[in-house]
Subunit: 244 residues, 2 copies
Amino acid sequence: MPACDVREKPMEINNIQTDAEFSPAERDAVYRCIFNRRDVRGQFLADPIPDQVLARLLNAAHRAPSVGFMQPWDFIVVRDPVVKQRVHDSFQAANLEAAGMFEDEKQRAYRRLKLEGIVEAPIGICITCDRNRTGPVGLGRTHQADMDLYSAVCAVQNLWLAARAENIGVGWVSIIKHDDLRAALGIPASIQPIAYLCVGHVTHFLQKPELEAAGWLPRMPLSDVVWIDRWHEREASDPLLECL
Amino acid sequence: MPACDVREKPMEINNIQTDAEFSPAERDAVYRCIFNRRDVRGQFLADPIPDQVLARLLNAAHRAPSVGFMQPWDFIVVRDPVVKQRVHDSFQAANLEAAGMFEDEKQRAYRRLKLEGIVEAPIGICITCDRNRTGPVGLGRTHQADMDLYSAVCAVQNLWLAARAENIGVGWVSIIKHDDLRAALGIPASIQPIAYLCVGHVTHFLQKPELEAAGWLPRMPLSDVVWIDRWHEREASDPLLECL
């Protein structure tokens, strides 16, 4: 199967990865992907995504870490324009409410932003979390019950990065009520929607995140959020700070 | 600064990424990273992590997507053996409780598992979420309030993948009470801990996830969790299914 060509190497000796070392070039490709991934809203092309490529993206998501190896996710691939329109209508309703929550100048700025590409993107992918997939007690969830939700978020991020490496854009739509999304996609009440993603080829990728470029909020310096051994504590002379 | 050498390319024309295309080799490196990332518990080496490398990992986390460009995360880098021991004590207490929640054979299997490398790993990193970082109303959180937590989880996954590309192992410890973690690291009640990560070089990376290899749970076929247009619906003849 064509989707298999980039899976992990098949060699297995005592369950140890052979040839495990990443080269500097491979490392740089991973960083380039992390730094050049963008939340795409306005640059989608109608070009179809080949099923083999889409399968690779879904497989990347499926290889996310999951608490207790629970794999709590499902993936609903949305192609039907009628379904996309229903999702878009739900976004519109929520976005009107949302705009009203901001004051004055911030509200005007908010209304100028394009925040989704639901209809334009050729594919939507809804990632969900089945909180009871492996029964009432889960390894790693005994003291942090939300770890299953976090596992599904890791699947989102894996898919997003894989898409960037495939030169495909992804946008995460969160301005939508979960119950509206459930209604649009027939998701039962017992299942938690995590993300609705717009997925497609793009005219271009932006250099800076749109909200940064639009002046919505600035990029924080990394050195503002790194601490040593205790919250909000560190020596000014700590050599790590020099490297940030 | 040495940490800069793998950041995004500095060229910027109208906020568009130039030379944006990923090559097949770069794409394959990203997939290799996604597929070969492991949750490391028992293979840590004491070798120190150079500050330049650690800074790259933190920068990768900081470049995660965040809802409304909120960047809600902080990173507490734990080096002090006394602090690590305190975190480990909290894990131990929770893990004893956790084992008692499983029945019979599953409990015996649980007790055989090594689930953390808190003391052995040279570095711990606690990633937190400041839910009020940008005020009471946040873009993208008006209808899904937990998007800030999910942003911080994306930072975890970015760091985890960057670490794999640096040939460094990461293990996520979730069998610990948040309040114990707050106490160990001086985190205020208003801040939500997201992840405590054990970070270090390793003797080897495992081919299969430990819980899969130990028979705790099987890997689900991807085709069991992919649907088209609606929850649990799809045509058996859909060509996407052939590619999974």
